[in-house]
Symmetry: C2
Subunit: 253 residues, 2 copies
């Protein structure tokens, strides 16, 4: 059981990779905020996405109590990782302590975050532009990973972030590359999903690219494929995608 022994383990690369996978492959999270006025701790469910630097993103309404909460006190935490079948405490999950920063409407950052979020959650297009809705970047401060069965680790904020000089150039190329891959290379996307994500179905579409990996979607499923290394230059992307397709086909065959 997860709480049998909560003594912390030494954080290793496997723990860091698991932490990133939990955050980056999530479609939703439980959020804890401080209720405006009372400071009461409130838990609720939010859809989640990610900005190009790995910072989790949420889209919420001013009519929901967590918006007022975050505007009054930006401290929050996000619990990622689903309980799934079987023992709920056997499944890995991570609590990320964050500082919430509202994304100003109209700017380039808002456009990038909106585009990425809607690619991941197409149905959110129905309300994303309502005047009472806003995006928040949930900037990590630190995190507690529970790998299940008492495997507890502290994770540093830096381990969840993507830090490279290629961020801006990749963000600029993202939309075009995503469209190109979806239009012309659906077979490669299915090969990625099968080889690197153990996916059984086909029909995957790309919904996001950043310097650390790819986000694939299939209906309501999301699959995160992490690169072996974080890209340092946007020029590395195209040859990497080609090489990954080659590797994927070798694994499958």
């Amino acid at each position: 059981m997860a709480e049998e022994k909560q003594t912390l383990r030494e954080t290793d690369d496997d723990a860091r990779a698991l932490a990133r996978r939990l955050v980056r492959s999530a479609r939703h999270a439980a959020i804890a905020v401080l209720e405006a006025g009372t400071g009461f701790p409130l838990a609720s469910r939010v859809l989640t996405g990610a900005d190009v630097d790995g910072v989790p993103v949420i889209l919420i309404s001013a009519l929901a109590p967590h918006m007022a909460a975050l505007r009054a006190d930006p401290r929050a935490s996000l619990l990622f990782g689903e309980a799934g079948k079987g023992d709920p405490l056997a499944h890995a999950r991570i609590t990320v302590r964050v500082e919430a920063r509202e994304v100003e409407k109209g700017g380039e950052i808002h456009a990038r975050i909106r585009r990425r979020f809607l690619a991941r959650h197409p149905k959110a297009a129905l309300y994303a532009d309502f005047p009472d809705f806003a995006f928040f970047r949930m900037v990590p401060i630190s995190a507690s990973l529970n790998g299940g069965f008492g495997r507890a680790y502290l994770i540093e904020a830096a381990d969840l972030l993507i830090d490279t000089p290629a961020l801006a150039a990749l963000a600029e190329r993202e939309e075009g590359t995503v469209r190109h891959m979806n239009e012309d290379h659906g077979d490669a996307l299915d090969a990625y999903a099968r080889a690197f994500g153990k996916a059984k179905k086909t029909g995957w579409r790309l919904c996001g690219i950043d310097a650390a990996g790819l986000d694939l979607a299939n209906g309501d499923e999301l699959l995160r494929i992490e690169f072996q290394h974080v890209l340092r230059d946007s020029g590395e992307l195209r040859p990497l995608l080609v090489d990954l397709a080659r590797q994927a086909r070798e694994i499958i065959d």
Copy 2:
């Protein structure tokens, strides 16, 4: 989407029944607490059970930050209701604001809560008696139900509680009746599960009885069957179980 329109609806009996079902059929919840010392809002996952009066119960370790949090400030909230497949915001969930009260070890209340919790979560027997573990009754203050797609309701604490003079007498009979049903009436339990819970599999065992309903378990699945009326006298239980079995067989045939 759940947050498209958060204007509250008038709370009706369907909303109250859904609220009770979400809380009482849960095996786990996300808990929001105030970190001891800092007041930072922390979200984490806990196993949940229920006391005979409908008050949610959790079992946690002093090594986990939520124990220190609750001992320093008893305010917390529990988010019940799984996201499941499809749109995470289309699934009903409820945030219950609670005051956490630690259950003193050694008394009758502790024995009752422990017995019911372990019947629901047999694997928790591995650590429930460790000295650093404790049960907390999470006494509801109020709740916010989100029925999915903007169907938001306020739920009063009383709507989640089971208030009847039969509580003590039923609690006393519970263990014997549960054993008897599991030993001699597995066919009736399967009929309840199929007729009232739309269960497809067989092999259900009873893990709890209270004045408002039955808790059935099958491996890691939990099924809550609510009675039509809350029992006012423990003598009503036996004829009700017989009558439910008759009704269930009529529905199935």
